[in-house]
């Protein structure tokens, strides 16, 4: 296990380094830089600024300096949001995005699992057909379309939720739902298939024959077997929630990392954008690693190589 973890961490370091290098050289390869303002700067001022930000050094030296900074955890200064270091912006936005993501994942799991279980147990009934149709809709529609429809229905037609912003739990529910909906749909389908497989097994029949109540059979015995595909889907689901948050945070005006990333992208704030890319890569890799490790715990037949 330790060797597996060490090897994975090693690959993460290599991946991050590749991302950093490629982004760095791309940034430098493109004309124009972060110091361009709307009015042309006085040449002396421009020189001073360049010297302060080390932009007049040879390329390789800049690269080594940046790499050293990043390794020490210093992601630099944001070029568009004056007076903010990238680390500060991340510290501000991360808890917000994290809570949104966790609640969205929670929605996805709870809704998806219950829909899948109900569908599988009452196979062929109206509930099954209805739930699976809803799941198909959730998969087909992109999350910004779902968000738009939800806003029209639940904010303006029947005013239940606030339209945008952040602060109270009420602000959390609608965005988290829109973010998690496609994954809930996928998980519902996966759970249904898994449950249908498991429910036809002999040991389930034995459990029923022993006289156990239906709920115990399903929740304690069947669910564990059906969970594996859901757990392995969690990796891509988390990746999707991270990327989906870009759009959802824009629509609901939530001041999280997603919105900062899009703004950095459109405002050409390279340091912030690169810092966030590195952060997202790390997050994604860690989540995938956790999912793989938990897989080994859930299914004793799986060996980590």
């Amino acid at each position: 296990m330790t060797r597996f973890l060490l090897r994975r961490l090693g690959w993460m370091a290599i991946t991050l380094w590749v991302v950093f290098t490629v982004s760095f050289f791309l940034m430098k390869a493109v004309p124009g830089g972060p110091l361009d303002r709307e009015r042309a700067l006085d040449p002396q001022i421009e020189e001073n600024l360049k010297a302060r930000y080390h932009l007049d050094e040879p390329l390789v030296q800049q690269y080594v300096r940046e790499l050293g900074n990043v390794l020490r955890g210093d992601l630099g200064v944001s070029f568009r949001l004056a007076d903010f270091r990238v680390n500060e912006i991340i510290a501000q936005g991360f808890p917000i995005s994290a809570s949104l993501g966790i609640v969205a994942l929670g929605f996805a799991l709870v809704l998806g699992l219950s829909a899948g279980i109900v569908s599988a147990v009452r196979r062929g009934s109206a509930a099954d057909v209805g739930l699976m149709a809803a799941a198909t809709v959730g998969i087909a529609l992109p999350n910004f379309v779902i968000a738009g429809i939800m806003i029209i229905l639940l904010v303006f037609l029947w005013p239940l939720f606030p339209a945008a912003g952040w602060g109270t739990p009420w602000h959390l529910i609608l965005p988290a739902f829109c973010l998690g909906a496609p994954y809930a749909a996928y998980i519902a389908r996966l759970t249904r298939t898994g449950m249908l497989d498991v429910l036809s097994q002999d040991y389930i029949r034995t459990a029923y024959a022993k006289g156990l109540p239906g709920r115990t059979v399903i929740l304690r015995h069947a669910l564990k077997g059906a969970m594996l595909p859901v757990v392995s889907f969690l990796g891509p689901a988390i990746a999707g929630i991270l990327t989906g948050s870009l759009v959802v945070e824009q629509i609901f005006a939530i001041p999280g990392l997603g919105m900062h990333f899009v703004e950095a992208a459109t405002q050409k704030d390279y340091t912030l954008a690169m810092g966030l890319v590195l952060l997202y890569t790390t997050l994604l890799y860690t989540m995938n690693l956790l999912v793989d490790v938990s897989y080994a715990f859930l299914d004793p037949r799986v060996k980590l190589e």
């Binding site: 690959w11 993460m12 290599i14 991946t15 590749v18 991302v19 490629v22 982004s23 791309l26 940034m27 493109v30 004309p31 124009g32 361009d36 303002r37 709307e38 009015r39 042309a40 198909t136 809709v137 998969i139 087909a140 529609l141 992109p142 910004f144 379309v145 968000a147 738009g148 429809i149 806003i151 029209i152 904010v155 303006f156 037609l157 339209a163 990746a239 991270l242 990327t243 870009l246 759009v247 824009q250 629509i251 990333f261 899009v262 992208a265 459109t266 050409k268 390279y270 954008a273 690169m274 966030l276 890319v277 997202y280 890569t281 994604l284 890799y285 995938n288």
Partner: protein
């Protein structure tokens, strides 16, 4: 040799007839038969075929011009009556007609121009009424849906094809060569796999639309120039004002509204594009260099960048298939005859991969289209005045206000996207079941 007796001849003749009547079933036909029994997949296939044909023939359809701005009909709900100003004026002679068509439809390639000419000849000024309503600038939503379909579908197809070519070549080579080369190639794929490409792509697109210079100049313009900004082509008055201030404009510069009433993008075919902002009753011009990489526009870079993300899964799948096919007898036979490596890979292995490749094609296209919609939604994808479904969804959501609900701007693009993606997914599932070699002859 003595001639066979008559009963034997009859028996042989009967056998021969029986054998002739049996038709061998190829893999393809077998798969098609299985697919036909899957009703959902057939419905999806039909829907996609119809959509594809309509998208190809869009200039031929009697739709209202998608770029014709008519502020009087702003935010009109779906209606079934003809609009008063149809947007295509054919009256005053060939030049006026061409100008009106260009204003409404933009500059098109030769084939589309021919189709457009046919449409004008057949339908004249009549167009289908706005059954999907109009948007913020009074443009017909139905025609924008169709013109947007062209771009969304084109991006989906081309980007997927790019990823297909790269993925199949890479996977086939890695699988066939095996050993250390295979190991190395797959390690590269693993590293690339764990990079959240979506962020890198956004980063890339940002960089590629870099501004080289940003200079603002304030133009003094004669009264009434606001009307000039509502037109799609730069009026002579505006052109003169620009030239006087030191920014001569080329022939045929176009104006596209980015934020209605505030911001316009002035694009020229060659050279700089400008962003024009109206602030405090005066005009501000911000100069930017166009975001072109190696002479390619953003859409083309788009194709390649998106294609470059999705080839990884294709490469992995193809490699798996090649490894299982590598040791088959027919490959050994080819090697014995003296076929070289390249010939074996591309002539023998690749055709046998077709079934896997087709399935992944149909499952990747929706993901690519979704990604394009996603990027356009964020403003990083297709640029105005081009339309795509993602852009339409974006405009729809931006237009939602608590006072009036313009549901048609959200529902119809959403429906279009949803139905197409749905159909593609179901077709992909159906194809996967149909082409599964374990289900042969069932």
């Amino acid at each position: 040799m003595p001639t066979p007796r008559q009963p034997d001849l009859d028996r042989y003749a009967a056998l021969l007839d029986e054998v002739r009547a049996i038709k061998g079933v190829s893999l393809g036909r077998d798969a098609w038969r299985r697919l036909r029994r899957n009703r959902v997949a057939m419905v999806s296939l039909g829907f996609l075929a119809v959509l594809g044909t309509l998208a190809l023939l869009t200039p031929l359809l009697p739709l209202q011009p998608p770029r014709y701005v008519n502020m009087a009909r702003q935010f009109a709900p779906p209606e079934f009556s003809q609009p008063e100003k149809p947007g295509i004026t054919l009256g005053e002679g060939p030049d006026a007609r061409r100008a009106s068509l260009e204003e409404g439809f933009g500059r098109l390639d030769p084939v589309s121009n021919v189709l457009l000419a046919i449409r004008v000849a057949v339908f004249g000024e009549w167009s289908i009424p706005s059954i999907c309503g109009t948007d913020q600038l009074g443009r017909d939503a139905l025609s924008r849906l169709f013109w947007g379909a062209r771009i969304s579908l084109a991006v989906g197809l081309v980007a997927t094809l790019v990823s297909l070519v790269i993925g199949v070549a890479y996977g086939a080579i890695a699988g066939y060569l095996g050993g250390q080369t295979d190991n190395l190639m797959m390690r590269i794929v693993d590293v690339l796999y764990s990079i959240p490409f979506i962020f890198v792509v956004i980063f890339l697109i940002t960089i590629l639309s870099a501004e080289a210079t940003r200079q603002t100049l304030h133009l003094e313009l004669p009264a009434g120039f606001e009307q000039d900004l509502e037109q799609e082509t730069v009026s002579p008055r505006l052109g003169e004002a620009f030239a006087e201030n030191g920014y001569p404009l080329a022939e045929g510069a176009t104006l596209a509204s980015e934020t209605p009433g505030e911001r316009w993008r002035l694009s020229q075919k060659e050279g700089r594009s400008y962003v024009v902002e109206l602030a405090d009753g005066r005009l501000r011009v911000v100069t930017e260099t166009t975001g072109r990489l190696l002479g390619a526009s953003r859409i083309v870079v788009f194709f390649f960048v998106i294609g470059a993300i999705y080839w990884l899964t294709m490469a992995r799948v193809v490699r798996g298939q090649v490894i299982s096919l590598k040791n088959e007898q027919f490959i050994e036979a080819a090697r014995t005859i003296g076929a070289g490596r390249r010939r074996i890979i591309f002539l023998h292995l690749v055709p046998n991969l077709l079934s896997v490749v087709i399935v992944y094609l149909t499952l990747t296209i929706p993901r690519v289209m979704l990604f394009e919609a996603f990027l356009s939604f964020l403003g990083l994808g297709v640029e105005a005045p081009d339309v795509s479904w993602g852009l339409l969804a974006n405009e729809g959501i931006k237009a939602i206000t608590p006072v009036r609900i313009f549901w048609w701007l959200v529902v119809f693009p959403g429906l279009a996207l949803g139905l197409t993606l749905w159909a593609l997914n179901f077709l992909g599932d159906g194809l996967r079941d149909a082409l599964d070699p374990r289900m042969k002859n069932r």
